[in-house]
Amino acid sequence: MKFSQEFESRFTEMLGHYPTKRSVLVPTLLYAQDEVGSLTDEVILELAQRLDLTELEVRNVISYYSLLSTKPRGKYNVQVCTNIACMLVGGEQLLDHCKKKLGVQHKGTTADGMFTVEEVECIGACSWAPAIQVNYDFHENLTIDRLDQVLDEYKKKGKQ
């Protein structure tokens, strides 16, 4: 399969950073997922071959890390933190609102494929709680109104 030139450059560069090929696996899976949308059978086979691993070894790693997924997600993966610091200042309300507004449950994707909503563990925004992460962008010190604005901005951006 074909990845972008950017992926190939990163992959080749990273191979030179370690004494074993396998070490590039975790960051490379994340890069591949960002590019393809999910870790498809094709991606898994390709990376397994490149790194002299079995497909099972690659799947074994994928199933361990919470950011890695074999299932497609929406264009914008809305990760709502409800861990202790966020919970104390409204994280659960944000999650409820998000699910209602987008009409999906935990790990559900909207019919138009725009949003996936996911309840996640601590994202490292405790002092700026409550917070969400949309793909890799942090949105912090949120209120319900601000959350609405954030989601509306992504919706608008996604349609462009």
Binding site: S23, P27, A85, A125, C126, S127, Q133, Y136, F138
Partner: protein, 439 residues
């Protein structure tokens, strides 16, 4: 970008370049950057280790072990390459300090790794950053590239004859990877499952080579120690607890944020003066002093010196510096449940006491909070936690057990108030739906 706060009581050492544009290498150089590593290159490795030992620097990741002592465990001679590994997999709930270091002062981390490498005779370092922190990985990768471009990394650094490479490595979401041996497994491209110890990483670590693993804040402190001297750094804190600490203030506070305060700063003062006290006229109920794994302190127990020994004396731990404050509107059973939900989700499943223990505890706490608890469950929660303590493969089991024991011990009445048929006194009966459990 995470917003910055300040308070007059702050003593800025690790955070002194925050907001100063130090991600730019030329600006970092203007702010005394890379002077410490040049000084270290002129010192004997043992002298560097002794300086760090004498500074009283203790690991900022949570365990609080003497950094200099840790470095001294690395054998001088080794048939295998030695490595330095920066642990930037910050995932302890309540903790967000390393994020600011990577965002504002990435070269300080690089410089810390360099000094550690010179001290132990390593020629390769890795900076591991959690996957959620993608924007920080981009900042760090640029900083490393800039350091190579200036000739500070690579062959013959600063014309010293010493070769040193440092690489960035990204994670993909797993709290367990913050445990040092699991971090090595992850960097080797495997599931982040802990290794049996001994041997300890200092002797057998990455790819079997001796490895020093330190938290990002620990390493970012090192250049300041080398430049300012052990005595100066030690004098900032309390006996056996040198320096300052980045405290992450979160929860029900008027002024949450990350503040750098001297080790030993009083917790009560931290909450009411630095953190601005409790909002909405409510009363303080409890405080998690050092991240979710540390036993909770009640409002009556907060006259505590915030250093490793002071918090230990109060029956808890300084941990990773995450201070989470709860006001009196919060239900402790629910808080215990949310804490356990995290540990159940993050247990790697490698050992039975942790895998089964966290699952059982979460289920019981969930039933309890939903109004289905029976009296014997209270003792069973405590008993199970007590039996997990010290019996798991890695400290994650302890991290789940210790706070749970404290919740039951210190807030037993609230557990009793949740017994079968009783609605949660902190919520309307109609909102007593069970909390969602991760798929």
């Amino acid at each position: 970008m995470a917003s910055l706060v300040s308070h007059p009581d702050e003593v800025r050492v690790v955070s002194k370049r925050f907001g100063q544009g130090a991600t730019n290498i030329d600006r970092y150089l203007e702010l005394d950057g890379y002077k410490a590593v040049q000084k270290a290159l002129s010192m004997q490795p043992d002298a560097i280790i002794n300086e760090v030992k004498n500074s009283g620097l203790r690991g900022r990741g949570g365990a609080g072990f003497s950094t200099g002592m840790k470095w001294s465990f690395v054998p001088k001679q080794s048939a295998k390459p030695k490595y330095v590994l920066c642990n930037g997999d910050e995932s302890e709930p309540g903790t967000c300090k390393d994020r600011l270091i990577f965002e504002h002062d990435p070269h300080a981390v690089i410089e810390g790794v360099m000094i550690a490498a010179i001290a132990v005779g390593s020629h390769t370092g890795y900076i591991y950053i959690r996957g959620e922190y993608r924007y920080l990985s981009i900042i760090m990768q640029k900083a490393i590239r800039d350091a190579y471009a200036k000739g500070f990394l690579g062959k013959n650094i600063f014309g010293s004859g010493y070769d040193l490479d440092i690489f960035w490595h990204g994670g993909a979401g797993a709290y367990e990877v913050g445990e040092e041996s699991a971090l090595m497994e992850s960097l080797e491209g495997k599931r982040g499952i802990p290794r049996i110890r001994p041997p300890f990483p200092a002797v057998v670590g990455l790819w079997g080579g001796p490895t020093v693993i330190n938290n990002a804040e620990t390493l970012a402190s090192v250049p300041h120690i080398i430049l300012g001297g052990a005595e100066w750094f030690a004098g900032l804190g309390t006996p056996k607890n040198g320096g300052t600490r980045l405290f992450c203030l979160a929860g029900n506070l008027n002024k949450p944020g990350v503040y750098e305060l001297p080790m030993g700063y009083n917790l009560k003062k931290m909450i009411y003066e630095v953190g601005g006290g409790i909002p909405n006229g409510r009363a303080l109920k409890a405080v998690v002093p050092g991240g979710s794994s540390t036993p909770i302190l009640t409002a009556a127990e907060i006259d505590v010196a915030m250093d490793f020994d002071g918090v230990a004396k109060a029956g808890s731990m300084l941990g990773s510096g995450g201070v989470v404050v709860l006001d009196d509107s919060n239900c402790m059973v629910k808080f215990a449940l949310r804490t356990m939900k995290f540990y159940r989700h993050e247990s790697c499943g490698w050992c039975i006491p942790c895998r089964e223990g966290t699952d059982w505890l979460e289920k019981t706490l969930k039933r309890f909070h939903s109004g289905g608890g029976v009296m014997k469950d209270i003792d069973n929660i405590y008993y199970l936690s007590e039996n997990m303590l010290g019996k798991t493969f890695c400290p994650l089991g302890d991290a789940a057990a210790m706070p749970t024991m404290a919740f039951v011990k210190k807030f037993r009445k609230e557990f009793e108030d949740h017994l079968e048929g009783k609605p949660c006194p902190f919520e309307k009966a109609s909102t007593l739906a069970p909390l969602p459990v991760f798929a």
